[in-house]
Amino acid sequence: MAHGGDAVIRIENLYKEYVTDAGPVPVLHGISVTVHAGEFVAVMGPSGSGKSTLMNIVGCLDTATSGSYFLNGRDVGHLDRDELAHLRNQVIGFVFQGFNLLPRASIADNVALPLIYRGTAGGERAERAKDMLVKVGLGERLNNRPNQISGGQQQRVAIARALVTDPRLILADEPTGNLDTHTSQEIMTLFSELNGRDGITIVLVTHEPDIAQYAQRLVRLTDGNIVYDGPVAEALPHHLERTT
């Protein structure tokens, strides 16, 4: 692929199986994929195909059963809990479908939270949280609780929280899954800006072709295998024709 950047994510022959009471459930069957700096990748696939499983491993929230995963060239498989926490804090920004904000904390405190774990001083924390909220268009609502703002606004807060540590990689698992079309487009515009203007690498899971359109590259998963990996433009017109 004609991307100039270094490999941010390099996955080789990744297997994942969940151990359940009924025995092991294989989910990812030897996936290999590389994402370079500055790319905007959409991951699609039917429900249960393993998209979230893959994202959780890439986001250092979960570990693979076998295979290797290099993040910025570092072999993540050999890191301990604290080092993984460090990566989640410093390198990756994660955005969830369900927002995952702390309900009891104010919006500003939610955004400042990752900075606590990197030891940033109180004054600077508040400053940066405010800057980030302004950047996502929520500069007026600093002292509101998450349940006092709309879903789209909550997702903006979650994005601000992911951005506050200046990560070079944003992972988003169905960030617009709980939002209406209009709000989804606003959120996607925000992601496009982050990718285009700030050069942040983005990997985003979605079910909707309209959302995937914002990305340049599409990875399609089926039953734990990659069945397509190429430009969005080539894959989706066909898809759009079929749905319309």
């Binding site: 809990r81 460090h86 989640r88 009891r104 606590i116 774990y117």
Partner: protein, 407 residues
Amino acid sequence: MIRAMLGEAWMAMGANRLRTLLTMLGMVIGVSAVILMLAIGQGAQQRVQESIASMGSNLFIVLSGSVTSGGLRMGGGAAASLTLADAQAIEELPSIAAVAPSAPGTAQLVYGASNWSTQVIGTTPGYLTVRDWRLESGSAFADSDLRSATRVALLGKTVVRNLFGEGDDPVGKTIRIRNSPYVVLGVLASKGQSLDGRDQDDTVIVPVTTAQRKLFGTRVAGSVRMIMVQAESAEAMPSVEKAMTDLMRQRHRIREGADDDFTIRNLTAAADAAEETAKVMSLMLGAIASVSLLVGGIGIMNIMLVSVTERTREIGIRMAIGARGRDILLQFLLEAIIISVIGCLIGVLLGVGGALAVNRLSGTAVVVTPSSIVMAFAVAAAVGIFFGWYPARKAASMKPIDALRYQ
């Protein structure tokens, strides 16, 4: 970092105020119980020490009759074996500070329209030295009073209060003891309660010769109930005891191998034992109260475990944005410690307040020592850490993805 963590812990506690308060209550009760019990124990200990101090130091009591190995006094009072002459002989021994023979009895006292029944002790001026007892007014009787068995008396404060009422100076007045007139020479300073709870001020002192010849009479001429002996120093006590035993055996003509017909009791040793008993009691009260502290600690652990389960998702979110195990551990540990320390603070206030109330209401001496407060704080912090550790550890060791997925 710690400041931010404290803020977070505070917020989490505020989110469930009633529960936090109830958890704290266990701690409050535990700490206040410990403080109060220790204070009561300390008070008892102090009272024992004061009584011991009022008894006089380095004291022996020589009694007639012997003690068998079983501790039963044999032939006590059967033979009135101690006499005034024995007391005078003991006084000649080395390292003796003072000797006071004592012939006590009970008698009816009358002054004007008041009458009072009390203990009358026939003794020598040495008694005041031995008992370390001062005169508040007047003077003690002299050796001449002893020789001629004059009718003079020294009165304790309680006797004065009951015969004369307030404000009347008894010195120089004449009272009647068993219908004979006695001149009051002096009033004894107040001494308070004895070790066994008797009022030591409810006493009249007369010359021993007067008691023997005019007041109570004796079966054997010159016999006394007991002889109090004060050694010059604590170090001299063993040698004094030995010398007295030898002297008494010789004077009473007791053959080699035969039992003594007298008993020498070391009061200082008995006092030490009483003090030891009070100390043990104090410790036991504290130990019993500590059980409630333990129960309070278990309460904290219980609530923290519930809290960790309830907040599993929160833990997952925190981990997802970079909290390390130790950050989560610290957060929950801080919560447990804050609860126990604040509970302890309230408990100390309640305990001290309770001790003051007991002081005021019952008049029982209750003593709160700073060390018991320091100890209560240390224990509370330790309880917080000890019982907070397991739930905090449990929270910290969760896998991020499992915590996030927890429903």
